[in-house]
């Protein structure tokens, strides 16, 4: 039930361990970490910078997390999303869900990252070694991934 938006890196092991510590109702913990990678499209990627909308970002992440809590029986959940400049290999985002049940932990975690990618106000700008910058375009595959989780009672968007 925690959302954090921060510039600094996070300690993956510490975050995950804290999520289930002392809770004996947790049977499964699923987590996803997104990292900056060297991409075929931008072979000379030097870094990327994530801009966000302070205030609305936290509000949207909290709403996404509340939706996951409403849909699945979760004992704990966590979203940590960084902003600012990051180089290849650095961690960008962590989502994690703990549940009594393996399937719930998996589905809720998958849902969180899919929805986050289409709803949380973050924008990536890539910086090449030659100094150029390029705003990353939204991908239709992300919309398709998020659409899987739509239900009939969701408001149209």
């Amino acid at each position: 039930m925690t959302v954090r938006v921060q510039r600094e890196d996070f300690d993956l092991g510490a975050e995950l361990t804290a999520l289930t510590a002392g809770n004996r109702r947790v049977g499964g913990l699923t987590s996803f970490v997104g990292l900056v990678r060297d991409m075929a499209e931008t072979p000379d990627l030097a870094a990327m910078t994530l801009e966000h909308y302070p205030g609305m970002t936290e509000r949207m992440l909290e709403r996404i997390e509340a939706e996951a809590q409403a849909r699945w029986p979760l004992e704990a959940s966590l979203i940590v999303h960084r902003y600012g400049r990051m180089e290849p290999g650095e961690q960008i985002v962590l989502v994690a869900c703990a549940s009594p049940h393996r399937e719930a932990a998996f589905e809720a975690c998958h849902f969180l990252i899919d929805w986050l990618k289409t709803k949380a106000p973050f924008w990536k700008v890539e910086e090449s070694r030659s100094g150029g910058t390029n705003w990353v375009e939204a991908r239709s595959s992300d919309d398709a991934a998020a659409a899987r989780w739509h239900r009939d009672d969701d408001a149209a968007e």
Binding site: G34, L50, E51, H52, Y53, G55, M56, R59, H81, I92, V93, I113, L116, K117, T118, K119, A120, P121, F122, W123, K124, V125, W135, V136, E137, A138, R139, D142, E157
Partner: protein, 83 residues
């Protein structure tokens, strides 16, 4: 009304944040975008392709027909690319 611009909309308009007082007939998101476009220059360029722009009113996603009024915080940005 407070306007916020993010990502390439900030770059193209040359503006991160501004206070505006649109005329009274500007009552919806679509009308606000048209009024901003009418300023010309970077604003006209940034707002030319409406399919590339998302709008939030008071930190909630809004559609072209949704209302805007004095005192609102209206943000303009491209589709999100976080995660």
């Amino acid at each position: 009304m407070k306007l916020l611009y993010f990502a390439w909309l900030k770059q193209k308009t040359g503006c991160a944040e501004e206070e505006v007082q649109p005329p009274a007939e500007v009552a919806t998101v679509a009308e606000l975008l048209s009024w901003l476009e009418g300023r010309g220059g970077g604003f006209a360029e940034a707002l030319a392709d409406r399919t590339a722009i998302r709008v939030a009113v008071n930190q909630e996603y809004a559609r072209p027909g949704d209302p805007v009024k004095p005192g609102d915080e209206v943000a303009l940005f491209p589709p999100v690319t976080g995660g």
